[in-house]
């Protein structure tokens, strides 16, 4: 009641909804061994009342005292809310059963002496005000779906209360980004709704640290997006790593990078690990190539001196950097024959992945969708020790039948263009954009893309391709600024044998020629084919504007 004295507007809001709202009994009597129906209390609050809403809910649902509730709000919830647009309206529901938290509860928290609540609070986000009447009116359902921007779960693992969440970038003040996203079905106040985003959760430091959270988020994303994968709960992650552990795993003390890779392999991926020290200059370009391919990556960052090791996810990049393509530096090529070919034929190659840009990270210590460069992946941390962290490794969770990975695929493309049987024309200055795509999605977009002219479009769509393909788009600095390419190579991602004939090549189109393997003889054929510049494929990541 004291809180309501300071925030009278929330009192009015709650009073308006009084028929619906019922606060749970105080925690001290919630464990009386008697079966009783618990009603869900529902609240709506606009920005001025967000603080009041959360502190009131924490006090009343979990019996916390006011000062602790306020502290939790300020330190652990408010930073998340600060990234939201001012127009966002919150709808809070108590007694929410969250599968992710319940798994931790039954496998760990319930075995403690201290009493932890089983239930969570769910905060749904709407873009613009919503009212009690909107939910009662069937005609307003589409309007509510249009305004729905995702949800946070608040779990009783104090003070780290932010649990499973899926937030649409459209809910943020800064939504200018391209991301790997999936649709998630959920409910709010009884209505089934859908949100498009990437899953996020803070760690509870006992059952899930950063390593387990990244594993969970990756599986939650892939499990919702593709039928081939299944989402996993923390207990399943712990069980999966049992064979690789010599000690008990809970309370968690984190995981080594190779354990994360092992778990992902066990969950059905054909994982590949890349170390910064091993790949040197190539490392960041490979990372960028996979992100451009729409594959969320597990990123390991470390400041060894300060004893910091942290896992986060790279799930996208800033939206548009087309104006900065003049800054692109020529690609460092270490192969002598390629260098000779470039010098003799006056060819300059630029790698699209060299473009300096900010990536979008999912970091369980911070609000969702943090932007940072690869050189300073922890630049959003307040402490110097954290800001000095650098990326040591990344893990690419690939579809298990992608046998040709990025390092070899990119080298193959460059070798073919420079030293192959039909090298690229002299005096060329090309920008190479190499990425993975599913042939289904690639053909789908080609079929819809007006930029690709008639015959090439037919040939591409009617060419038999592997489920996943490496696509190398050949462009120039000027063309790429306009989002166009003038040539391409399509490489079979299921063919790891790159050193026999022209094995992985499916087709190549550049300099007015089409190169294909003649099926019966296995010989490479050159066909003169005119093609106009076409739009680059940018459907691996979903674009969000400001």
């Amino acid at each position: 009641m004291l809180l309501l004295l300071f925030f009278p507007s929330l009192y009015i809001q709650i009073t308006v909804l009084s028929k619906k709202c019922r606060i749970n009994p105080p925690l001290s009597i919630s464990f009386i061994p008697k079966i009783q129906a618990v009603s869900i209390s529902v609240y709506i609050a606009t920005k001025p009342d967000w603080a009041m809403l959360i502190t009131t809910l924490l006090c009343e649902a979990y019996g916390l005292d006011e000062s602790f509730s306020e502290q939790i709000y300020i330190e652990n919830v408010k930073p998340h809310f600060e990234s939201l647009k001012d127009e966002i309206c919150l709808l809070a529901e108590t007694s929410y059963v969250d599968g992710f938290y319940r798994d931790s509860y039954y496998h760990y928290f319930s075995s403690k002496l201290n009493c932890y609540s089983r239930d969570c609070i769910r905060i749904s986000l709407f873009d613009g005000e919503v009212s009690e009447e909107d939910f009662a009116d069937p005609d307003k359902y589409d309007v509510l779906q249009g305004k729905y921007r995702g949800f946070y779960v608040l779990r009783p693992t104090f003070p780290l209360v932010i649990g499973r969440s899926v937030i649409s970038p459209e809910a943020l003040k800064d939504s200018e980004m391209r991301l790997c996203v999936s649709d998630f079905n959920t409910t709010a106040n009884g209505l089934k709704l859908r949100v498009c985003g990437f899953p996020h959760s803070s760690q509870d430091t006992e059952t899930i640290t950063c390593a387990e959270t990244t594993l969970w988020a990756i599986m939650e994303y892939f499990g919702n997006k593709y039928a081939y994968y299944k989402p996993v709960q923390p207990s399943k992650i712990i069980k999966q790593l049992n064979d690789l552990s010599y000690e008990r795993q809970v309370p968690s003390r984190g995981l080594a990078v190779h354990q994360i890779s092992y778990a992902l392999k066990e969950f059905g991926f054909g994982t590949r690990m890349y170390g910064k020290d091993q790949y040197g200059d190539e490392f960041e370009r490979l990372l960028s190539c996979y992100v451009e391919s729409g594959i969320p990556l597990v990123i390991a960052i470390q400041n060894e001196v300060a004893g910091i090791g942290h896992a986060l996810l790279a799930v996208g990049r800033e939206n548009d950097y087309s104006t900065r393509f003049d800054e692109l530096e020529p690609c460092n090529i270490d192969d002598e024959k390629c260098l000779l070919a470039m010098a003799l034929n006056d060819i300059e190659i630029y790698d699209y992945d060299s473009m300096p840009k900010r990536f979008v990270f999912i970091d369980d210590n911070h609000p969702v969708y943090q932007k940072a460069t690869l050189a300073k992946p922890a630049e959003h941390y307040p402490s110097d020790d954290w800001r000095k962290c650098t990326i040591t490794h990344f893990i690419a969770p690939l579809y298990p039948k992608i046998y040709l990975e990025a390092f070899q695929a990119k080298k193959y493309v460059i070798q073919f263009l420079l030293t192959g049987p039909q090298p690229i024309r002299e005096h060329s200055e090309i920008v190479l954009r190499v990425f993975l795509a599913s042939s289904r999605s690639y053909k789908h977009e080609l079929a819809r893309n007006n930029g690709v002219s008639g015959e090439l479009k037919n040939l591409l769509i009617e060419t038999q391709m592997s489920k996943f393909i490496w696509v190398a788009e050949i462009s120039t600095k000027e063309l790429i600024k306009a989002g166009k390419a003038s040539g391409l190579m399509i490489v079979d991602a299921t063919e790891a044998n790159v050193y026999h004939k022209v094995n992985p090549l499916i087709m190549a189109v550049f300099d007015g020629n089409l190169l294909v393997l003649e099926k019966s003889s296995g010989k490479l054929q050159k066909k003169v084919l005119h093609s106009e510049p076409f739009s680059i494929y940018d459907h691996n990541l979903k674009a969000f504007d400001k």
């Binding site: 640290t209 950063c210 390593a211 003390r253 984190g254 995981l255 080594a256 990078v257 190779h258 994360i260 890779s261 590949r272 690990m273 890349y274 170390g275 020290d277 091993q278 790949y279 390991a300 470390q302 910091i308 090791g309 942290h310 896992a311 192969d335 024959k337 210590n365 040591t392 490794h393 990975e405 390092f407 070899q408 080298k411 193959y412 070798q415 073919f416 030293t419 192959g420 049987p421 039909q422 090298p423 015959e455 037919n458 040939l459 009617e462 060419t463 790159v498 050193y499 026999h500 004939k501 022209v502 003649e518 003889s521 010989k523 490479l524 054929q525 050159k526 066909k527 003169v528 084919l529």
Partner: protein, 65 residues
Amino acid sequence: MIKKISKTEVINERLEREGKVTTLDKKEHIDAIIAMNKQLEAVRREYQIKDRKSQITAANVILTM
């Protein structure tokens, strides 16, 4: 009535008729492919070493925070 709507065969036949198809099987082409394959075999070895070393170092980076 059945109508074949795929165009690849028609396009290929036209290109063949117009003399726009060349098989890249001359000595210079074969030599280029052999040289390229040798380079790519070196790339494969380089990758295998980098990959194995990445696995070894990955075991020493503990992610706890």
